[in-house]
């Protein structure tokens, strides 16, 4: 892995940060704005994980370990949602 690649990734990250701030100032609406912000954050996070943390170059087991926490968190969100989204239905 070359340091020049790291510098390019960094540049992209800074640009994305600029987008994030820029989007904050645009009138995008109460739903779109946070979602878009999180999406951009996701891309930034992904770049850091793949390149800065070098997950792109590592084997399957390591990627599994990396994903395990996120998957478990996803289950937490999903099932709690079944409560909070449906509480007022009956």
């Amino acid at each position: 892995m070359k340091s020049s690649l790291l510098l390019w990734i960094y540049l992209v990250l800074v640009i994305l940060l600029g987008c994030t701030i820029g989007m904050a100032l645009l009138p995008l609406g109460v739903v779109i704005k946070p979602l878009a912000g999180l999406l951009v954050a996701g891309v930034k996070g992904g770049l850091i994980v793949l390149f800065f943390m070098q997950l792109r170059y590592h084997h399957g087991t390591l990627r599994l370990f990396a994903a395990a926490g996120a998957f478990c968190l996803f289950l937490l969100f999903l099932l709690i949602a079944t409560d909070y989204l449906t509480r007022l239905w009956s």
Partner: protein, 225 residues
């Protein structure tokens, strides 16, 4: 014993149960990534709480978010991204066994980390002066009690989330300082042990950076219209 040192596996020549350097490196990486997975859940609960209450009280949360300083938050993000770049460069240097180069990059990382913490402390001080700290001096004059209560909920989450994040930053900074000291005092190329320590710390640092990257839109960008 710091959490990072204790994940290094066999580090002294006496313990022979890990004789193979490749195995040692792999084991260290697996250990660190697994630990980071636990941290995902640790922070994740806070993100969950925030999401649920944001959904329940959207207007109050938007209003509360407006009190935060977007520019400081954004600048701090830039600081952390740059620190991540430096620590990643430190790892590249460590891979090559370059003691001086990697130690310098680690120092740059630490410096930026401390800048982040200083700005965060400044922000908190500002919020304290504006009477926005729950449990200490929270007061929103001119709003009705129910609205103020929900805004206070936002600030509970804000201080807890940025507080836990800052705690992780402080711990990481401590480890960086220790690594820099050892790197500076040692001679010759870096050993595998030292290189593993640097890589593990870097992974932790990147993770803490990613947490902040998600905190930024959630906390600071909810508001602003």
């Amino acid at each position: 014993m710091t959490e990072h040192e204790s994940q290094q596996g066999c580090l002294d020549p006496v313990a022979e149960h890990l004789a193979d350097p490749a195995q040692r490196l792999d084991i260290a990486r697996l250990g660190v990534w697994l630990f980071l997975s636990t941290e995902v859940l640790f922070f994740g609960v806070l993100f969950l709480g925030f999401t649920l209450y944001r959904r329940s009280y959207p207007d109050e949360f938007v209003a509360a978010s407006n009190h935060l300083n977007l520019w400081l938050g954004g600048f701090n993000t830039l600081v952390l991204l740059t620190s991540s770049l430096f620590v990643a460069l430190a790892v590249l240097g460590a891979d090559r066994g370059d003691r001086r180069g990697s130690t310098r990059y680690l120092a740059a990382t630490l410096a930026l980390g401390l800048v982040f913490l200083a700005i965060k402390a400044f922000e908190w001080h500002q919020e304290y002066q504006e009477h926005l700290v729950p449990g200490l001096n929270f007061a929103l004059p001119g709003t009705d009690a129910g609205w103020a209560a929900h805004e206070q909920l936002f600030f509970c989450l804000y201080f807890i989330m940025t507080g836990v994040h800052a705690f992780h930053m402080i711990a990481g900074s401590g480890v960086l300082a220790w690594l820099i000291l050892r790197g500076w005092r040692g001679h010759g190329p870096l050993s595998q042990t030292e290189s593993i320590r640097i890589e593990s710390t870097a992974l932790y640092w990147h993770f803490v950076d990613i947490v902040w990257i998600f905190l930024l839109p959630l906390l600071y960008l909810t508001g602003f219209n």
